[in-house]
Amino acid sequence: MHKFANPTKFMKVANALFPVFCIGFIGLLSAGLYYSLLNSPEDYQQGHTVRIMYVHVPAAYMAVMIYAVMASCAASSLIWKHPLADLIARSSAPIGAAFTFLCLASGAFWGKPMWGTWWVWDARLTSVLIMFFLYMGYIALLNAFDDPQRGVKPAAILALVGVVNLPIIKFSVDWWNTLHQPASIIRLDGPTIDGGMLTPLYIMMGAFTLFYLMLLVIRLRAEFAAARIRTIRILGEG
């Protein structure tokens, strides 16, 4: 068990923070839902449909951030052979895939009334779809080997290969004349979203981030339990 010495300390901190994540998530989500559904202005063109943005944008942000987390963990697992990094990457992948799906689905619900179509194959939508496939490929590769440890490195390499997609997602709307609107929040001349809409958006982003951390801790606990069961089984057989 000496291999998990450091991760045990990590889990102690994570477990201590877990209630903070939970309470913070519930608090921010309630505030975010109140503002985004009831107490934020309509858009001058989109009307109430703008409220889909309060799910869509945070989901997109989480999808990209979790991929970045996963790829950095993959890199540190390949370079420094850090076992904890593997576990974080492996636990993050399904959460990231779910957020990517949420982003695509909520975007489709917004696109149908606003653009007039559920889906278009423009650069932004396609590159996000590729990211969804990369998450799927990562999970598949991780579980494709008889020895569960054997999939860790190939999956980490795949996660790093997929990093080329992240700048494409971010800048696709600037490089190409896409149907998807250009960046509204992270841009040189400041956000182009009215303050009354920006506040609930930030609150929802915070809520989604805490939700991710919460799920991550739960999944890490499960991973540690699984590792312990494997060890016990091997000891029992030996």
Partner: protein, 156 residues
């Protein structure tokens, strides 16, 4: 002997790294060169008029709906409007339901082909949304103050 072997190995590795970085530089240069031309999801009216696209060729047309150009054809279901980039105009006919965001002065993208009279017969019309999100009162206030600037009108 082993010393020199280690050295050749090191030198080979350096060569590989430099060649790789040089290739990445080439890649960036090529991409920048490509972006000097316009790679587009759609073509604008000026390009269509200048290029002289043949009738029947499918492509996407993008631009602004010209003010006071939206109307219905005699059959009562076909929408007629003009797409402009404030330089050239293309007449568009579309039989179907227009999206919510479709209005005069708004950016749209239409998929279809030119007919023999040079009118664009659209099979699909999509409304392009811009990056501005704000309540209607804020827009009114900005219009009154004269600071309102519609990004679509700067030409896309």
């Amino acid at each position: 002997m082993s010393m020199s072997r280690a050295r050749t190995r090191k030198r080979a590795r350096m060569t590989v790294v430099f060649a790789g970085l040089a290739m990445l530089g080439v890649s960036v240069a090529l991409a920048l060169l490509a972006f000097e031309d316009n790679i587009v999801f759609f073509y604008g009216p000026t390009e269509i008029v200048e290029q002289g696209v043949e009738p029947g060729q499918n492509f996407r047309l993008g631009g602004l709906v010209k003010e006071d150009s939206v109307g219905l054809a005699n059959d009562g279901v076909t929408n007629l409007f003009i797409v402009t980039d404030n330089n050239a105009n293309v007449e568009v006919a579309f039989k179907g339901i227009l999206p919510d965001l479709f209005r005069e002065g708004q950016g749209i993208v239409a998929l279809g082909a030119l007919n023999n009279e040079g009118r664009f017969i659209a099979s699909e019309v999509l409304a392009k949304h811009d990056e501005n999100y704000m309540p209607p009162e804020a827009v009114e206030a900005m219009k009154r103050a004269g600071t309102w600037k519609h990004t679509q009108e700067e030409g896309n």
